[in-house]
């Protein structure tokens, strides 16, 4: 008896230690990653200063030439690092993605929540969620082989003819690789996220509220527009912000269709562009050949910037989604 209980105690102690380590690991990982990225970015922050946010030029310098010293740090001669192209590219492609994804997701979510039932709803929901599981490189490949030629030969020329009054629709279409193509692949990747979250929010709107509208002779659209949507507004904005965070951080698919422009800002909707995530992935290899290591530090600073942006977006999104949920609950109780 005594022996068994001591074994049990040992197991319990092991359990507590294991659970403690497991539970603390996310925090430790997050802190560790942040620490490492910040440490890696420090020399670049000192070297570039605010210039990093404003300059258009990203030049790792002549790594086969000499070194230069500035602000107590060393870089390849001629090096200067500016991330404005990538900040603009990241924000612009993500916003374009949302412009496409938000209406599609909202309508899909309405259909899933209210217009389908039982097996059909389950199948459609699963399909939407499967879309989220497609590896981004596959979507990128589709973008590269199907989407960009189509933009180049069909959609682009059409848009630039029809929408010529809007400055950003005018101008040369080029290869089809650029902002619009990036926006499209990002839309494909954000739609499942926004749709699934919105569907869940819509399902939380009490049937009683919707029937109030239906019973008053509202059309389906009017019910969604005037009753359901106002109920889920905060949560929906949160869902969109989640999608935005996902779009900003996406790497591979964008890398394959963005045209990866450096040193210049997009001129129109079709211009080649680069995003922060894609650029970091792309440039790390050659950055490693920089003997001064400044190229790696600069990429770390870019990664840090991206991390700050996505973490802030995600925090805001989560806050809004939970606000939306709480509001649901509160009004539900009041109606009693």
């Amino acid at each position: 008896m005594q022996k068994a209980s001591s074994v049990a105690k040992t197991i319990d102690r092991a359990f507590h230690v294991a659970a403690g380590i497991a539970a603390s690991s996310p925090v430790v990982f997050l802190a560790g990653i942040v620490t490492i990225v910040v440490i890696q970015a420090m020399p670049s922050i000192r070297f570039n200063g605010w210039h990093f946010l404003t300059s258009l030029t990203w030049n790792i310098g002549n790594v086969y030439g000499g070194l230069e010293h500035e602000h107590g740090v060393t870089a390849a001669s001629g090096a200067s690092f500016g991330s404005r192209v990538f900040i603009v590219g990241t924000l612009a492609s993500s916003v374009i993605a949302l412009l496409m994804a938000v209406p599609v997701s909202l309508l899909t979510a309405v259909v899933l929540a209210y217009r389908t039932r039982g097996a059909l709803r389950a199948i459609l929901s699963t399909l939407v969620e499967l879309l989220a599981g497609i590896p981004s490189v596959v979507i990128g490949l589709w973008g590269m082989t199907v989407l960009t030629p189509w933009i180049s030969t069909q959609l682009g020329p059409l848009l630039s003819r029809v929408g010529g009054v809007i400055p950003y629709l005018r101008g040369p279409v080029g290869t089809g690789m650029g902002l619009l193509a990036s926006g499209c692949v990002l839309a494909v990747m954000t739609i499942p996220i926004i749709t699934a979250t919105t569907r869940d929010l819509l399902l939380q709107v009490p049937t009683l509220y919707r029937e109030g509208g239906i019973g008053l002779g509202m059309t389906d659209w009017e019910v969604v527009r005037h009753i359901c949507f106002p109920c889920i507004r905060e949560g929906f904005i949160g869902a969109v912000a989640l999608g935005f965070g996902r779009a900003m951080g996406e790497t591979m698919a964008v890398l394959m269709v963005s045209g990866n422009a450096v040193n210049l800002l997009p001129q129109n909707l079709y211009s080649p562009t680069s995003t922060m995530a894609a650029f970091v992935a792309d440039q790390l290899d050659s950055a490693l050949t920089d003997a001064s290591k400044m190229a790696v530090h600069a990429l770390s600073e870019l990664a840090l910037l991206l991390m700050v942006l996505t973490v802030a977006t995600n925090l805001a999104a989560r806050r809004l989604v939970s606000l939306g949920r709480r509001r649901q609950w509160r009004t539900g109780v009041d109606a009693r």
Partner: protein
């Protein structure tokens, strides 16, 4: 002014379950008709068929014909049917994100009324009809959800009345209310009598006896007995009705 409603062989299903087994019934214009019966007898389903709300539910289906005056509502867009046949629900359900004023005005705006003075006028009139005006006239633009349960239910009645329906369906409207609020609601229904047709589902037999001109007794998806309220409660012709109103079951 109200219109009559006539149903012929109305059958309704929830999935495979038949909940209404062929109802033939005529609701007279401008009268109050009460529908009583134990839980699950199909009384709520029945009035939800009258504004074609039943068919919006999951797996729900309706057969048979329902006429509103001389219109077959099965042949009219359900949205239009519901504008002619309004409804008040078991639990008050004002639109949670809107103010008191907008709860009523929304239906008017969606009905095509654009002129602000007309909307304001009709909001006031509906609130007066629903006996709520005096209580809320100073806070029309505060959230509707801040009202008490009884006030919310009267707001829902005002909301339904604002679009001037021919028929008002009430699905156990007092079931979530306290006795005082229930009393005021009954007074309100009595005051509306004569100006439109009212069909009210209730499980409260005293309530039916107090306010209804005619009463229908439903049991297991069938209409057992339908007649003048006085007769139903004093000399029911069917033993099942008698058993129910004397409290032997239900």
């Amino acid at each position: 002014m109200g219109k009559s409603m006539t149903t012929h062989d109305v059958r309704a299903w929830y999935g495979a379950q038949l909940t209404l087994k062929g109802i033939d019934m005529t609701v007279d214009a401008n009268q109050v008709t009460a529908i009583i019966g134990p839980s699950g007898c199909g009384k709520s389903t029945f009035i939800r068929c009258l504004n074609r709300l039943h068919e919006t539910g999951s797996g729900a289906r309706v057969e048979g014909s329902i006429r509103l005056g001389d219109l077959d509502i099965g042949e009219i867009d359900p949205v239009d049917v519901r504008r002619m046949v309004g409804m008040v629900f078991q639990r008050p359900n004002p639109f949670p994100t809107l103010s008191i004023y907008d709860n009523i005005a929304l239906g008017l705006r969606l009905g095509g009324i654009r002129a602000k003075p007309e909307i304001a006028q009709r909001v006031e009139r509906s609130l007066q009809l629903a006996a709520l005006w005096e209580e809320v006239k100073d806070r029309l633009h505060t959230p509707a959800t801040a009202l008490s349960g009884g006030q919310q239910q009267r707001l829902c009645i005002a909301r339904a009345l604002a679009v001037e329906p021919d028929v008002l369906l009430m699905d156990e409207p007092a079931s979530a209310l306290d006795p005082i609020s229930t009393h005021r609601l009954e007074e309100l229904v009595a005051s509306l009598k004569g100006s439109l047709t009212i069909v009210m589902v209730t499980h409260n037999m005293q309530q039916a006896a107090r306010i209804a001109d005619k009463t229908a007794f439903f049991l297991n998806g069938e209409l057992v007995e339908f007649g003048e309220t006085k007769e139903i409660f004093s000399t029911p012709s069917d033993p099942r009705t008698e058993d129910y109103i004397t409290g032997r079951f239900g």
